[in-house]
Every structure is written in C-alpha cells, then in structure tokens.
C-alpha cells in the first residue's frame, strides 16, 4: 500500500520533467536525424528524402572541415590556456603570499583581484563581443592605440581582418571571458584543502612550485576535471563570440561548426544540410566527451 503510494509520488514528480525533456530536447534531436536525410529548405512542409547525399556533400565541404578543425584547436587550446591561467591566478590569490606569521595566504590585494578577474564573466557575451571588436579595431582600437603610444606605430595588425591573427584574437577573448569563473572555482577548491597539509609541506622544505604541483593540483583534480569538461563544451560551441565578432571570417579562418551550421540553416536556407552537420557534430561531441571523462579519471583522494 505504502509502496504504491510512494510510486505514485515518484511518477508524479518525474512525469513533468520527463515529458518536457522529451518534447523539447529529445524530440528535436531525433527530428534532426530525420531532417538530415532530406533536402528541406525550411519553408514548406514539402521536402524529399535524399538519403545520405547531405553527408556525402558534407565530407567534401572544405569549409566544414576548416570549421571542425578550428573547433578541435579550440578544444585543445581553450581548456589548456584557461585552466593554466586560472590555476596560476587562483594559487597566487590564495596560497602564494609571503609567509607572514606562518599563515598560508594570497598576494596583497587578493580580494580586489578576485573581483576584477570575475568581472568579465558577469558581462553578457554580446557586450563582450562588441567591446572586443572595438578594442581590436585596427584604426581606432585600444590595442593598436596602445601600440602607437609605446612607439610601435608601424606595427598595426588588423586583428580580426588578418587570416593569421583572427582566430587567436577570438581565442584570447574566450579565455579572458572565462578565466575569472575558473579562478573562483579553483579558489573554492583551494580553500577546501586543509591548511595543515600545505603547512606540513612547507615545513618539510617544499618550494612553492613543489607545493603547487605535488599538493594543490592533485587535491583539486576534481575541480580541474569539471573545468575541462565545461571548457570543452564552450570550445565545441563558441557560436556567440564568432557570430558577433567575425561572422566566421576572414575567409573562414574563424569559422566554427556551430556557426557554419547556423549559416547554412538560416542564411542559405539549407536546413537538411545543416541538420546533417548537426548530426556529425553530435557524434563528434559524444565521442570527445566519452574520451575526456575516461582519460581524466583518477583515484579520488580523500582528505
């Protein structure tokens, strides 16, 4: 009797989210798989099933490969740079201060820096895009203005207009945007490390870098792993910044999968082709995430 009542409650609670999830998340995915084998242009309910032709075209589409390649470079560089920088900053803010009265503490002004680093994360991505577009403006921008001010008037790169620079300029913005959040995340992890462990290490004569690599990093490994997964997702997406700042240009040098998909669907009216792209990206994402979770699995350290 009680058992049945319990079940009813469970079903009652689960039904609503499950139905919402099915209708708004799962069903569009399934639909995308179907649309991917059609030539749907997105306007009428009429279309033909064309089998795997979209996929065949996709594999011969150099822009798609370029976009996917950019995503992969982002996938490696974005987590690496962001986590590296965030770890460094978090360590400086929490554990790198001078050994005054034997207490582990951050550098002077740590609270202030923490707010400053977190600030970009509070801004909307659209504002960040517009802000950096102006900073990168080759003629009136802050960056080239700074170069002129320090006497480098002859070095005036066209940051977002140069095929060799644009991608890295976009990457820098993504890092700038994200790093503050991960500083806070790692700070939380660092705070959870018992001070006695660190002090013991220092007493045993460990240098700062030894403390960092031997004590700190292993003890906040779970946080780093979480950060890597989140940054991986951001790297496979990167849609908003690319759309606002470069539109994939110049000459597709900042093209990413999500934006190319969007262009095909909404600018070129090729929903079938775009869906095929979505399916391929889905598979790639799935494979990569499975790989990431497996590759970063480690023994959990209890403390």
């Amino acid at each position: 009797m009680r058992n049945r009542h319990q079940r009813r409650v469970i079903v009652g609670f689960l039904a609503a989210p499950l139905i919402l999830y099915t209708v708004f998340v799962a069903s569009p995915y399934v639909q995308a798989f179907y649309i991917a084998i059609t030539d749907w242009r997105g306007l009428s309910a009429e279309f033909d099933v064309i089998g795997l032709a979209n996929f065949a075209e996709l594999f011969g589409d150099p822009v798609f490969w370029k976009a996917l390649g950019n995503n992969l470079i982002l996938l490696i560089t974005l987590p690496l740079v962001t986590i590296g920088l965030a770890l460094f900053l978090a360590f400086m803010l929490n554990a790198a201060g001078g050994p005054r009265s034997g207490e582990i503490r951050g550098v002077r002004g740590a609270t202030f820096y923490r707010v400053v680093f977190f600030f970009p994360y509070v801004l909307s991505i659209a504002i960040i895009g517009v802000l950096w577009m102006n900073i990168y403006n080759p003629i009136n921008g802050l960056l080239n203005g700074g170069l002129r001010a320090i006497g480098l008037g002859h070095v005036q790169p066209s940051w977002l207009g140069d095929e060799r620079l644009a991608f890295w300029a976009v990457l820098a913005v993504l890092v700038w945007n994200g790093v503050g959040f991960y500083v806070v995340l790692f700070t939380a992890g660092l705070k959870a490390i018992p001070a006695s462990l660190l002090e013991a290490a220092v007493l045993d004569g460990a240098s700062r870098s030894q403390v960092f690599f031997r004590i700190t990093v292993p003890l906040i490994w779970e946080n780093i792993r979480t950060a890597a997964v989140y940054l991986g997702i951001a790297a496979l997406d990167a849609f908003a910044i690319v759309q606002i700042m470069t539109g994939g240009g110049p000459n597709d040098s900042t093209q990413v999968g999500s934006f190319y998909l969007y262009q095909n669907a909404f600018s070129y009216g090729r929903f079938g082709y775009a869906s095929a792209m979505g399916v391929v990206l889905f598979v790639v994402t799935l494979a990569l995430s499975a790989f990431t979770l497996r590759a970063t699995r480690r023994e959990r350290i209890e403390f």
Binding site: I35, R41, L43, S158, G161, P250, D252, N264, G269
Partner: protein, 463 residues
C-alpha cells in the same frame, strides 16, 4: 543544434537512456514541423474585379503587412495604408514590423498562414532560393498589368524604372517587387575633390593618377569593410560591365561558364588590381565593418568607399556639412569598352512579396499597387531618403547631395544599367565569391586568381 552552452555533456549512459527514449520522441516528432503534406492554399476571399478594383478586393477583409524595420524606417508605410483605406473603407490594415523577418515569419510559412504582404529584407530575410524552390510566392504578374494607382490609363508596368521586373523574376515568374531603387558602386566627396583641385577621372589611367595624388596628399585612395567584403561586389562588377557589357554580367548572374574568366572581365579586374598592389587601400581596412570604413571615408582618411544609395542616410549626422557625397561612375578602362562612361550598377531593392498561401492575397496585390502610386513613391523618397522604383516619383526640394547625385547619374546612364542577382539567387555563392574579393583587396589574391576562383565557385553552384 549544439550551440547551447548549458547543455550537459552526454555520457555513454545518457546516450543509452536517450536511445531508449527515441521511439517515444519519434512519435512526438511526427506531430512537429516536418510532418504532413502541404495543405491546399486557402482560397482568397475575393469580390469581383471591376474598374478601380482590379484584383477584386473584398470589402472589409483585413490585410496584414509585415515591414522590415531597417534603414528606411517605418514612417513611409503610413501613406500607402491611408491610400488603401481610403479606397477600401472599413478595411483593417494590420501593419507590424520586425528586424527578424526570417525568425518571425518562417514558422508561419511552414504552418500555411503567412501575412499578406512581407517586406522580406535585411540580413535576416528569408532566403529567396528557398522561397522560390518551395513555390511559396504568389506571381505578381497581375500587378504589372493592372492600371496604375495614379493614372489608370497606364499599367503599373510602365511606371517602373528599368530592371525592376527583371530583378524580381525568379524561374521565369515575377514574384518579388522591389520598392526602392538605388545605385551601387562607390562614393567620393565632391567637395574634397574641389578643395584639392581634382576632377573626376574619365579614363582609368587618370583614375590611377588621381589615386597617386591622393596617396601623396596623405589620403588612402580606397577603404572597404573587410568584415563584409561583399561590399566590393558592386564596384568590381561595375568595372566588368563597363568593359565587357551586359553579356558577361548576364553570365555571372546566371551562373554560366566563362563568366568571370571571360578575358574582358579579367581585364577589368586586372585594372583594379593596381589599387591593392600599390598599397592604396587604407591600412587596417580588412578589420573594419561597414560603418567603420564609412567613417574613415567621411573623416577624409580615404578617397573612395564602396557602397550604395543607403550610405548617406545610414551615416546620418556623421556626414560632415558640405561633404557633398557623390556616386562614382566607372572610368573608361580600355579603348574598346562595351559601355560608355556613366554606365551604372543600379537595381531595385527593398523586396516585397505576397506569399502564395496568404489569406487575402488580392488585398496584398492591391496594397502593393497603392505603394507604387506616385504619392506613395514620392513619400518614400522623402521619408526613406532613397529613390523609388516608380519612375514618376519626385524628389523633395531638400533632397540630400548623394540622392541628387544618384538621380542625375541614373539620368546620365539611361539604359546602360545593370543589376546583380547573385545575392538573391544564391546567397551562399555571393558570400563565397565575396570572401575571395576580400582577399583580393588584401593583396593575398591576384586578379586572375580571383576570376578563376569566382568561376570555380560559380561552376560548382550551377552543377
């Protein structure tokens, strides 16, 4: 599809769960957008066609008009609404506007209840290839043959400027009415020329000489919006038209063989190649957007900027007083140019369509007829600051310098006018060729490579 940042990373387990769900989801999907066949279009409630009411608009049937909320503003639509309501009293004209035409209206096209008139314009317009491919548009041929609003003795067709019908024709059917009319190419400042004692060059050699003088005077001859390289399309095509004529432009528009690689087309591109080769493009242009580039031009840092009729209005108060913006005409490039000096890229723009499935398509046609009245056209020129595709519409007394210069240039050009339709016929090809033009402006690509690559893209689009 994969652009939601908050989307949880799927794991092996969640995928299995997801696959287990799919039959349910599939059944649900069947009820969604991609299901079912096409419903038959609802019959338009029409009355009898009589004199003064050529499409047989039924009294009291509302008309829905969706305007693009762009550079031309919305004020100009008020007069046609009034005209319509005066002729058809007690009829509601529901007029809304949006910048997101595609996002707002696409679901309504799919559902079979689109508005009666759509101003399908802007960067979020619905792709014309898709609209035509899906036969979603009503033929506007009856509009051409209907008596014009202002003079019933003259059919609407004869009130239109050259090329309006051609540009609006897709797959042999006139389906898009472009309401504005503009010239494209590049701009210069007549007052700057006067101040420096320069005259507008008649030949390409003089043009290059002028660029040299500009560079010496510390003014970069050209700038362009590197973030939107398609701005170069119209000027480069104008040069091709000047040398090679209509035949080659038609080939370009129709995705034919030997269009860009026609030797006269290559000669025109080669002539322009001197600009990037001599370093006569403002440094940093490749990283500018259109307003940045236009500001450089208005501040006198660059002599020429690509663009069209809209530029003067777009820059508004940023145009310095007495700047005297004027449209460029292509100088004579070879001794045997196909077209005379003054040939111009001009085209009707600001597209209006009547969806095939519109509930009141007769009302839609009638509304377009009201828009094309002489009052409607002159009102558009005054309100929107652009010419109208009605050739009888008049300029207001306080028309700006750029607008007057276009009007004069159109008169001078006469029939030596061409338009490009690559953008509306295949927006992807347009973008892809524009990317190469961007590289051409950077100096990364030479004229013959540009021609070859543009031809390769064109060939691929044809097949």
């Amino acid at each position: 599809m994969h652009d939601r940042p908050s989307q949880p990373q799927p794991t092996r387990r969640s995928v299995l769960a997801f696959l287990a769900l799919s039959p349910v989801a599939g059944a649900l999907a069947a009820g969604c957008a991609t299901s079912g066949g096409k419903q038959a279009p609802a019959a338009s409630p029409t009355g009898r066609a009589v004199a003064g009411n050529p499409f047989g608009v039924a009294a009291g049937t509302p008309v829905e008009v969706v305007l693009f909320d762009g550079g031309y503003g919305q004020a100009y639509i008020k007069l046609p609404v009034e005209l319509y309501q005066k002729k058809h009293p007690k009829t509601e004209v529901k007029q809304t506007s949006t910048q997101q035409i595609q996002q707002t209206l696409q679901p309504r096209f799919v559902a079979g209840n689109p508005p009666d008139v759509v101003n399908n314009s802007g960067s979020n317009a619905i792709d014309y290839g898709a609209l035509v491919g899906d036969k979603a548009l009503l033929s506007l041929a009856p509009l051409l043959d209907a008596p014009s609003w202002s003079d019933p003795a003259v059919p609407v067709r004869d009130t239109l400027r050259p090329g309006v019908v051609e540009v609006g024709t897709h797959d042999g059917q006139f389906v898009v009415l472009n309401y504005s009319y503009g010239a494209y190419g590049a701009w210069y400042s007549a007052s700057l020329f006067e101040e420096k004692g320069w005259t507008y060059p008649q030949t390409w050699d003089d043009y290059l000489g002028l660029c040299d003088k500009m560079a010496t005077a510390g003014i970069a001859p050209w700038t362009y919006p590197g973030q939107f390289p398609y701005y170069m399309f119209w000027w480069l095509a104008s040069m091709i038209y000047k040398v090679a004529g209509k035949e080659v432009i038609d080939k370009i528009n129709n995705f034919e063989k030997d269009a860009w690689t026609d030797e006269r087309a290559v000669a025109a591109l080669k002539a322009f190649e001197a600009i990037p080769t001599n370093g006569w493009v403002l440094k940093g242009s490749s990283g500018l957007n259109h307003t940045d580039a236009q500001m450089q031009f208005l501040q006198g840092k660059a002599g020429f900027v690509p663009g069209g009729s809209w530029l003067e209005k777009e820059m508004g108060d940023s145009v310095p007083a007495g700047f005297d913006m004027s449209i460029c005409r292509v100088p004579s490039i070879t001794d045997a140019d196909d077209r005379p000096f003054g040939a111009l890229c001009a085209k009707a723009g600001e597209p209006y369509i009547v969806p095939r499935d519109a509930a009141n398509s007769a009302g839609g046609l009638e509304f377009l007829r009201a828009m094309l009245s002489n009052e409607g056209g002159s009102n558009f020129i005054a309100q929107a600051g652009a010419l109208s595709s009605n050739r009888n519409a008049t300029l207001p007394a306080d028309a700006k310098h750029g607008l007057v210069s276009i009007n004069d240039a159109l008169k001078e050009a006469g029939d030596n006018i061409f338009g490009l339709t690559v953008d509306t016929r295949n927006s992807r090809l347009w973008n892809d060729i524009a990317k190469v033009m961007g590289r051409f402006m950077n100096g990364d690509v030479k004229a013959d490579q540009l021609a070859k690559e543009a031809q390769r893209l064109t060939d691929a689009a044809r097949n």
